[in-house]
Amino acid sequence: MPASRLTRFFYRVLFYLLVLAVFIYLVFPFYWAVVSSLKSPQALFQTPVTYWPSPPRWQNYLDVFTMQPFGRNLLNSAIVAGATTLIALLFGSFAAYALGRFRFAGKRPLYYAILSVSMFPQISVLGGMYVLIKALGLYNTWWALIFSYMIFTLPFTVWVLTSFVREIPVELEEAAYVDGATPLQTLFRVLLPLMAPGLVTAGLLAFIGAWNEFLFALTFTVDDRARTVPVAIAFFSGASQYELPWAQIMAASVIVTVPLIVLVLVFQQRIIAGLTAGAVKG
């Protein structure tokens, strides 16, 4: 019947319009950051607002590195997030092996204790952590951040990896044991290769978490020796207090977001699996 086909067509159009609206809602702010990052000061501060940078001013991207210590901030962020991820994965896979494979008294309470640490509000340890970091002489260094970031990366890593270890068939390890392998050899030679997808998932989420962290970075660093990208972007300053260098801020925003978007594009499935494993499966 033509009438029902017409309604079906109408619903179809409505559906795609809705999809389009959601898509624009999700992506527009990032589009706007890109457009603003390519505008000249005149185009940026002009009304009415223009929706396309013509001509694009690539100079803004160079200014980020010459007029701000942004290269240093990027280096700090890369080192802090990289080291945090590696340490969390190493200690996390040890712990996941124990929790996923061994029976022992106190396992369940320990599992819950580790889990609950990941839900700590960071503010609740801020005072004690500050005093500790000062006492250890780590203030304003990469280590202050790597150390403190363990509080949110390690529990999560243990959690995700434990669920992966549980899914690996036990027979493979038993064969290794029969051949006389020690538990450590079994972990490194048999389990870790099989856990690769889990390591990628947990590693990505740990890296993104550390790359984006703000409160500790803000509190445990004072200058560009250890200051990471989020703090730098929050504090970008221009010629005067009232003239924020918006084009540079947007250029820096795009620079730190693009690698994350590439990671997300490449590892979409893994990230979604990790997020839903973390929150839904427990």
Partner: protein
């Protein structure tokens, strides 16, 4: 000696050896600082003193906290922020999850787009939106003016009545996709046969939603809700970057950090931190008791 231990005792020893690094690190970065913060909340101390010269004051910091109007303002702001943002995210997230659960071309692109707000650092998204909210050159005012939804540009971040809603809108933008992904995973675990059977029985789409989708989505919904609530209660980044320490927006975390770091009041700041800890611990207990059903 080792041979006399039973197999299970030997296995337990190995397990603890593997757990040792993670457990020791967590004791150092979580348990100890938490304990130290509790302890410092009973003293008066200045953050900048080194070594610290703490002076015992008992519960005086807590007594002050109960009467501190700024603290209660920050509690009020946090509650408004949490209820509004988590509520909106749930409704919008459910809508988006239902939309993306349908089969259509470019669905993959849509799922990728959903991860973009999630992957952008909170500080970066806060700065992006700060620029979009600019009262003179901002795109938000421009779009609303073009659509004739407002008559003149609004000062989103300067008007004390608008600034908290404006920040909530940023949080909703950033975390709705995350909510949608969690709910999508829940939707995809609902067996297709249920829908087929109900279609045979002549159920309408709305009936299917109310009697199949929603009830079966409750566990995923509940977990996502508590997860997001915990996150919203400790909110810091987006509020701090968009409006600094400002009574009309400051959350509990923003206020506690100001006392602790900016004012160097280690004792009172620690008391505030401890207060936040207990408020959130309540929700963690709730969260774990919901999860308990699902862990082996």
């Amino acid at each position: 000696m080792a041979q006399r231990l039973s197999l299970s005792a030997r296995r337990a020893r190995i397990a603890w050896a593997f757990l040792a690094p993670a457990v020791l690190v967590l004791l150092a970065v979580a348990a100890y600082p938490l304990f130290r913060t509790f302890q410092l909340s009973l003293f008066r101390a200045n953050l900048l003193d080194y070594p610290l010269r703490p002076e015992w004051v008992g519960l005086a910091n807590y007594a002050y906290m109960v009467r501190d109007l700024y603290w209660w303002t920050s509690v009020k702001n946090t509650v408004i922020f949490t209820v509004a943002s988590v509520g909106l995210e749930t409704v919008l997230g459910l809508g988006i999850a239902l939309l993306v659960n349908a089969r259509f071309p470019l669905r993959g692109a849509m799922r990728t787009a959903m991860l973009i707000p999630w992957a952008i650092p909170t500080v970066v998204s806060a700065q992006m939106w700060r620029w979009m909210y600019n009262d003179v050159y901002g795109v938000v005012n421009d779009l609303l003016l073009r659509a004739h939804l407002i008559a003149k540009p609004l000062a989103w971040l300067a008007d004390p009545h608008l600034v908290l809603p404006a920040i909530i809108a940023v949080d909703v933008w950033k975390t709705t996709p995350f909510m949608a992904l969690l709910l999508l995973a829940g939707l995809q675990s609902i067996p297709e046969e249920l829908y087929e059977a109900s279609r045979v029985d002549g159920a309408s789409g709305a009936q299917q939603f109310w009697f199949i989708t929603l009830p079966l989505l409750v566990p995923a919904l509940l977990v996502a809700l508590i997860f997001r609530t915990l996150d919203a209660l400790r909110v810091f980044d987006v509020i701090y970057v968009m409006s600094g320490v400002n009574p009309s927006t400051m959350s509990m975390s923003v206020y506690a950090r100001q006392q602790l770091v900016d004012f160097g009041d280690l004792g009172y700041g620690s008391a505030l931190s401890t207060g936040i800890f207990f408020i959130i611990a309540l929700f963690v207990v709730l969260y774990l008791s919901v999860l308990r059903v699902e862990v082996d």
